[in-house]
Symmetry: C2
Subunit: 206 residues, 2 copies
């Protein structure tokens, strides 16, 4: 159902705003007045549950739209993992613009696919595959172009652990194993460098 015309809608939007590292875009439970189209940077969203458990609901990048809600309140909290530029989309804009509605619908479907792909990662039996798939997921958008790929990792290991549903120690061990095997390099703790894509895909089970 390719009934969209991205270029047209984009031109009608307001100019992007700048958000810095760690800035909170919106809080879980707040009235969902705005959605945001990401122009640059990386965003992480998470939910807090009663009992204190936290579930990371996703990592988002360029052209993703976040803050989609059908009812009044944001379902999760969104924070910047890097500096970035965002295009706010108000509810009023949304209501008036059928093109925008279509775009949001397409984006929702895409996020649904993405969530299903996460589900696939999570049902993998061994943590090796989960972590490998996670790295590939983050690398995906940047993959085209140059041979060596630099990935922006979440702020701490626990973020990855919460996303994958494993302990932070397990994340450490698996990342260390990939490093030992020469599959991935880590210039620093916030970034990863995939050296051997095929090997990583093999670990992920593809």
């Amino acid at each position: 159902m390719a009934y969209l015309d991205y270029a047209e809608t984009v031109q009608t939007q307001a100019t992007p705003i700048v958000k810095l590292l760690d800035a909170v875009l919106y809080h879980q439970g707040d009235d969902a007045t705005m959605a945001y189209r990401i122009k640059s940077g990386v965003v992480m969203a998470y939910q807090i549950y009663s009992g204190g458990t936290r579930q990371i609901t996703g990592f988002f990048q360029q052209d993703d739209i976040i803050g989609l809600e059908v009812d009044g309140a944001y379902a999760d909290t969104a924070v910047m993992l890097s500096d970035g530029r965002l295009q706010p989309i108000s509810r009023r804009q949304f209501m008036q613009d059928p093109h925008l509605q279509n775009e949001l619908y397409a984006n929702a479907c895409e996020q649904l696919r993405s969530a299903q792909s996460l589900v696939l990662s999570l049902t993998r039996k061994c943590s090796d595959a989960k972590v490998a798939e996670f790295l590939l997921h983050l690398a995906r958008p940047r993959r085209c172009g140059k041979g060596r790929d630099l990935i922006v990792l979440p702020k701490c290991r626990q973020d990855i652990a919460d996303y994958l549903g494993v302990s932070s120690e397990t994340v450490s061990r698996r990342l260390a194993a990939f490093k030992r095997q020469g599959i991935v390099e880590f210039p620093d703790r916030r970034s990863a460098h995939i050296i051997d894509f095929p090997a990583l895909e093999a670990r992920a089970g593809h």
Copy 2:
């Protein structure tokens, strides 16, 4: 964003069709010409991956709409887990009817939430919680009304196992444990009877 008017759109739709147990609604990869609104019955959707692994992508019930696609092909295969009635929605209908578009958008957002809730189940550490949450998920729509709840289970244990990313033996063991503890009864292998909701919710970690 409650901008929908279900009643209005429903009335404009064609009369439901009947589908019997095990009927295939559509196949993964086929051209996505139709979506379906479920009027009654239970539907299971799954994806097959190269390598033979299968991922159950969801279980759907009354008022869910399945077969949503932004591009040409179905992402998964949908089969009936029971007899049921379905309302076909053609792509043409969709294109012409803004109410329907809004409804589909709302449905996509809802499914996204549902997928995130599945993700939450999958990140639970112990299989006890996964299976408990799975039963609660299936029970949710019917829950209102009577105190005792009858659930239609998937055709075989392996379906549940594939959905939760555990082995079928583990599913057996956990279900047996719930039965032993008097939390759930099993009149037969295709149905479950939740006796003690609070206890089950406790296992699920709520």
